[in-house]
Symmetry: C2
Subunit: 425 residues, 2 copies
Amino acid sequence: MKAEIIAVGSELLTPDRLDTNSLYITGRLNRLGISVERKTVVGDEHKQLSDAFRESLSRADLVIATGGLGPTEDDLTREALSETLRRKLAINHEVLHGIEARFRRMGRPMAERNARQAMVPEGASVLQNQNGTAPGLWIESDGHIVILLPGPPHELKGIFAEQVEPRLARLAGGMRLHARELRTVGVPESDLDERIAPIYKRYGDVQTTILAGMGEIQIHLRTWSKDGDAAEQMLSELVGYITQALGESIFTVSGQSMEEIVAAELTRNRATIAVAESCTGGLLAERLTRIPGSSSYFLGGVVCYSNEMKTAWADVPMALIEARGAVSPEVAQALATGIRLRTGAALGIGITGIAGPGGGTPEKPVGLVHIALADAAGCTERAARFPGDRERIRWFASQTALDMVRRHFLHITDTKPARPGAAQG
Amino acid sequence: MKAEIIAVGSELLTPDRLDTNSLYITGRLNRLGISVERKTVVGDEHKQLSDAFRESLSRADLVIATGGLGPTEDDLTREALSETLRRKLAINHEVLHGIEARFRRMGRPMAERNARQAMVPEGASVLQNQNGTAPGLWIESDGHIVILLPGPPHELKGIFAEQVEPRLARLAGGMRLHARELRTVGVPESDLDERIAPIYKRYGDVQTTILAGMGEIQIHLRTWSKDGDAAEQMLSELVGYITQALGESIFTVSGQSMEEIVAAELTRNRATIAVAESCTGGLLAERLTRIPGSSSYFLGGVVCYSNEMKTAWADVPMALIEARGAVSPEVAQALATGIRLRTGAALGIGITGIAGPGGGTPEKPVGLVHIALADAAGCTERAARFPGDRERIRWFASQTALDMVRRHFLHITDTKPARPGAAQG
C-alpha cells in the first residue's frame, strides 16, 4: 500500500516551523509495511488544499492529512476534502454532543464556532478524539482511503494509535515491521560503511539505513514479514555479523542512548561515579543525571573553570597546574583522581580542554581536550582534538567520557571479585 | 513572487529525517518579500520527480529544488527537470574541469561517475559550489525560474547566499524584510495573546507570529517595505507598545537566548556567579557556560545530589537538611549562600527539587523545585511546581534560575556604588 501525507497549516510554510507529525505517521505506517511516497505542506487556503487532495488521490492508495480541523474560519481541511470528493458536509449530532459535553466538563460555555468541528462529510466514519474537540475522520472513496487528523501531536497520536492503526493493520493483512537499531561510537562513517556494506548487502530483504548523529552513528535495520520468527532470526544473524565487524565500537543493538547504556553498566556493576569538568561546563554531569534514578550511582560533580576551584574541589596541586598548564594530561588525571577520592566514588572522571572559540594556541589549539578516568587501580587518559564549534566540541568531549566509562566495564576481568549481577561484557 | 520548494531524497520519506533546508531557504526568500506557498518531499524516482516539477511550475513563479545532484545513479534531479522542460542535457566542460581540479587538490583521482555532475541542461546558468562538486543550476523557462541546489546544508547555503540571493534581490526590486523577535518568560500563551492582540492587530502591515517554546514564548514581528526607515520606525513603535503591555517578562527584543542575556548582564555589571545544583544535575552550569568567554563571570558549580555533598561543597548544615528536608526553601537558600561564600562570587544560586519520575510525595510532589539567589545583601527564593517529564522539569527550573539572575540586574538601584558601564535597567 502506498501512502502520501499532507500537512496543512500556513505556519508550516514559515522559517520557524517544520511538520514533525509526518515522522510519527511514517514510522507507524512503515511498521505495517506501508511506505510514504510523498509529503506535501500546504497553507490554510481552500484551492491549495483541494488541489493537494486531488493530486494525492490520483497517485496514492492512502492519503493522511494533518491539521486544519480547528474551530476557526482558517480551518478548511474538512471543506476542501468534501468538495474534492463531492460529498455533502453536515452536522453530526453525536459529535456535537461530545464537544458540548467536553466544554461542560471544563466548566466553560461552547463557543458557536466550535460547532464547525462537528461537520462530517457524507459516508465518513468518525475517529473519536480523547484529547481535544476535533474528531478525526476516515473516508473511503473509489478504493482510496483518506484520513483527516487534528494537528496537535498528542491529539493526533492518540487517535492514530487507538483507532487508525488497528483498522490499517487489518487491511495490511498481518504484515509487520521487525527492526533493530545499532549505534556506534569512534568509527568514521565511511570506514563503517566499508566494513559492513559487504555484510548487509547479502540481506536483500533487510532495509539498511546509516545515519550520522552527534558523536555517534546509527545503523537502522528493518524488514517486513508475516512470519515474525523468521524475520527476528534473520535480523539476529545480521546483527551478529555486523557486531563481529565493528566490535566494541557498537554500544547498543536496541536503540538505547549512550546515557542509558552507561547508567545500566553503573547499575549492573553497583559502581558509583563522580566528575570534575572544566571545558564541558557541567554537560557531563547533566547527561549522567538525565536518567531517572541516577542518584543511586551519581555521587556528585564539580565544574571548575578556574585553577583555584580545581584545587579547592578536586585537590589538583597548584604546582602541577603551573608546571603543566590547566589543559594537560596530568591535570585531567589529577581531576579524575581528586574527585574520586573526595567523593568516595568507584570511578572519577576529569575533563580539561579548550572549547573555544577563543583561548587556543599553536601548542594547545581549540578542540584539544584531555579526558581521564580513575578507578582504584589507577588512571587512564585520552587526548583528542575535536572539530567544530564550541557546542560540538563540548558534546564530543562528553560523549568520549561516557564511552570511556562504557569501555571500562567491558574490560572488567576475573581478577576482581565477582559480584552478583555484574556484567562481564 | 510566489515560490515552491521541492526536497528530493528517499531518506526524507523515512521516520528519521526531516527536510530542514526549506527552513533556511524560506527565511532567505521571505527577506526578499517572496512567500513559499507549498513544500513537497519526493523520493529519488524519475517519474515522481518530473511530476513534482511539472505541478510546481504550473503554480509558482519560482521553484527551488534541493538534493539529488550527487554523482550516483540515484541522483536524478537534473535528468527529471531536463525532461520536464524538454531541454537537452550535455557535459559542461568548464564545470567538468572544476570538478577535476577539486579532486586534484584533494590528491584523489576523479571517479568516472563524477562526470555526471557536470551535466547541465541547455540554457541553464551554472551556480558555482565552493564547498562541493555539484554546482547549482538556474534555469528560466516561460517566465518561471527553477533553481537546483545540492542537498548538503553547507553547500546549499554557500551557493544561496553568494549567488542566488543577489540575483533574486534584483528581481524583487528593493523590497526588504524588517523584523523583530521578542521573547518572554513567565506569562502563559493565552494571557500573552489576550494582552497584545489589541495592539498588534492595529498594525495590519506587520505579520505577527506567536510561538511557544520550552519555558519561553517568542513573538515574531515581520514587515516588508522598500522604505527601510519607515518600516523600522513602525516596528520600533509596535515593540514599544508591546513592551509596555508585557513589561519585564520580555527578556529580549532582538532574538537573543536567555543564556546570552544573562551573560551580557553579568558582563555589563562585572559580576561573577557560582551555582550549587541538585535536581538540575549540572544543566544550569552547562547553560551558563554555553556562551564563549563565560570563564570571565562563571566561577564554578557543584552538582550535589547527596546530602553529604551539599554539606561538603556548599556548607549546608546537616542539621538543616534533617530538620527541613533536602527539598526545602531553607536548603535552596543555604546552597545559594554557601556556594557564593565558598567561591567568592557576587551571586550564588541554589536549586533543589524533585525532577521525577520517582521520589515524589503528597507534600513534595514531582515537579516541586526551590530556587534561591544570594548576593551580598541577602537571599531571595522562589518555589515552583513545574509540569511535564524529567527533562521539562529540569529545563523549566534552569530557565527560572536564569530569569531570576536577569531580574536581579533589572532591579539594581542607585544605592549601590555606580560602576563604569553598569546597566541601570
